[in-house]
Amino acid sequence: MSSLLKLNQVEAFIQKFHILHDISFEVPKGGATVLLGRNGAGKTTTLRTIMGLNQVTKGSVTYKDTNIGNLHTHHIANKGIGYVPEGQGIFGGLTVGENMRVAMKKEDETTTKRMEWILELFPDLKKFWNKPGGQLSGGQKQMLAIARAYVNENDLLLIDEPSKGLAPIIVDKVTESIQQMKEQTTILLVEQNFVMASKIADQFHIIDNGQTVHSGQMEDLKNDKVIMKKYLGIS
């Protein structure tokens, strides 16, 4: 299986702090991969490093067989990588519609179609189309952040904790939408909601203290009590 994205012994610093020590994993084309780990393990930092928001100080990040480790963020994004950041990254002063417009790379028919699909998925966004993003509720912001990533045609989607702050009913919807997305796009997910993660992901990697410590198929993990307990605290 050819891998779409491959991290090889990646190290990264934030300012003077050494955060990522040795991150190595592959994301196969098609399907979904989830990163698991405790708070502060380095999951978010890993995604940010892939996006070029942190410098890779050692190791390599290979995407479609090219090293993207030292590219500018916008170049990386333009290679077809979409990103839903942890803090949602909503432009508070812009309306929901404007937030979407900033994200839209082109305005053609497919985009319009996607737009329709998105608004069906998150009717709240339609309802609050002209409301400043900063005034949305926490969950609505989360929806907007996901919607922004959905609107473009991407080859890879990096999604950081999509379920955070969402009502169960919306979590179901988002889960379903990611499952749909999987058909055209590869997904790399960070998620604490284990139920959701196991519904979506095919394989997992566990990060602990800035290192990838365990990998495998999601199917197997559900039954692997030892790993679950050791790294995820689930018993």
């Binding site: 003077k16 702090f17 050494h18 020590h21 203290n209």
Partner: protein
């Protein structure tokens, strides 16, 4: 940080202050003493600005109004009464009272206006003071200004030096205490996140107003000293240029450090003195102001947090590393 540690720093400051008391016996040139006195004066003024900018996060473009209030109170009292220590005290009382009243009002306005809007409003208020000084010519002497005498004792440059230094040292230790008190910690929190502090049970407005008053009063004292050193007043004591100067001193030294503004004042005064002196050396330095401007640019590039701020943060990261917050198991 522990007590012993803090004491060490305090001792260093005390030692430096004592050293400064010896300086006039070594540097006897009045002209150089005059420059150093200006550093004391602007050091005080810049510290007062730091209370606003560095500790409370308020940018004001009109801080000079308090300096001007201090200046005119002194000048007018000295001119109208006889130049004695008694009238100096009267002048200080008037200066402090006026500054407190004005800074109270200005401080209350921080409630309504945020960041740039507040900055511009203060610019406007200081501008109105300038216009008032210009217009009320019978009292202020207007743009031409007037000269006046000062108490005999302060006519001596050395004495003035000691008075300026003492004032600066006292104010420095006072403000340092203030900023490291529980009150000061709340100010810093306001700078960081004004909205959050309310839901911790603190009244933002009270703190801002108190900070504004402290800052205004201290600034007016620097105005008083300025007059003692200059013995001449004109409307330029309300000019925006002075706000800009003091802003620069504060930033160059490092905001939120208190000692930084003094260092900044020293650096600005000496850089100014030295660079402008270059023009006597060679005609090529006729445009020394270009070099002076370049100094500012270089400071930002090499000392992004100001001189003291940058050094402090270098030291503290070393400290943090030793503490090993993220010990790898």
């Amino acid at each position: 940080m522990n007590l012993r540690n803090v004491d060490k720093i305090t001792w260093i400051y005390v030692a430096i202050s004592l050293l400064l008391f010896i300086v006039p016996f070594i540097v006897t040139g009045r002209s150089m003493q005059f420059i150093i006195i200006q550093i004391f004066i602007f050091g005080i003024f810049a510290m007062s600005y730091d209370i606003l900018l560095g500790f409370t996060g308020i940018i004001s473009f009109g801080h000079v109004m308090f300096f001007g209030i201090g200046s005119y109170s002194t000048a007018i009292v000295m001119d109208r009464l006889e130049p004695s220590i008694g009238s100096l005290l009267v002048a200080i009382v008037i200066a402090v009272t006026l500054a407190a009243i004005v800074s109270f009002i200005v401080g209350v306005l921080t409630l309504r206006l945020k960041s740039h809007f507040y900055a511009m409003l203060t610019l406007a208020l200081a501008g109105l003071f300038l216009v008032a000084a210009e217009k009320w010519r019978s009292v202020s002497g207007g743009n031409d200004g007037f000269t006046f005498g000062v108490p005999e004792f302060l006519r001596d440059s050395q004495n003035l030096y000691f008075v300026g230094l003492t004032a600066m040292v006292l104010i420095f230790f006072g403000l340092r205490r203030l900023t490291s008190s529980p009150f000061g910690k709340v100010l810093m929190a306001i700078r960081e996140n004004e909205n959050r502090i309310e839901s911790l049970g603190y009244k933002v407005l009270h703190y801002k107003v108190i900070a504004s008053i402290v800052s205004g009063v201290v600034a007016s004292l620097s105005g008083v000293l300025y007059m003692l050193s200059l013995r001449f007043v004109d409307t330029s004591v309300f000019a925006t240029d002075i706000t800009i100067d003091v802003l620069l001193m504060t930033i160059i030294g490092g905001v939120g450090t208190l000692i930084g503004p003094i260092v900044g004042a020293g650096l600005v005064e000496f850089a100014h003195h030295w660079l402008s002196g270059l023009s006597d050396v060679h005609w090529i330095f006729e445009r020394w102001i270009i070099l002076y401007g370049t100094v500012y640019i270089l400071v930002v590039i090499f000392f992004p947090l100001g001189i003291v701020g940058t050094i402090q943060s270098k030291l503290s990261t070393i400290g943090l590393k030793n503490n090993g917050p993220r010990a790898k198991k």
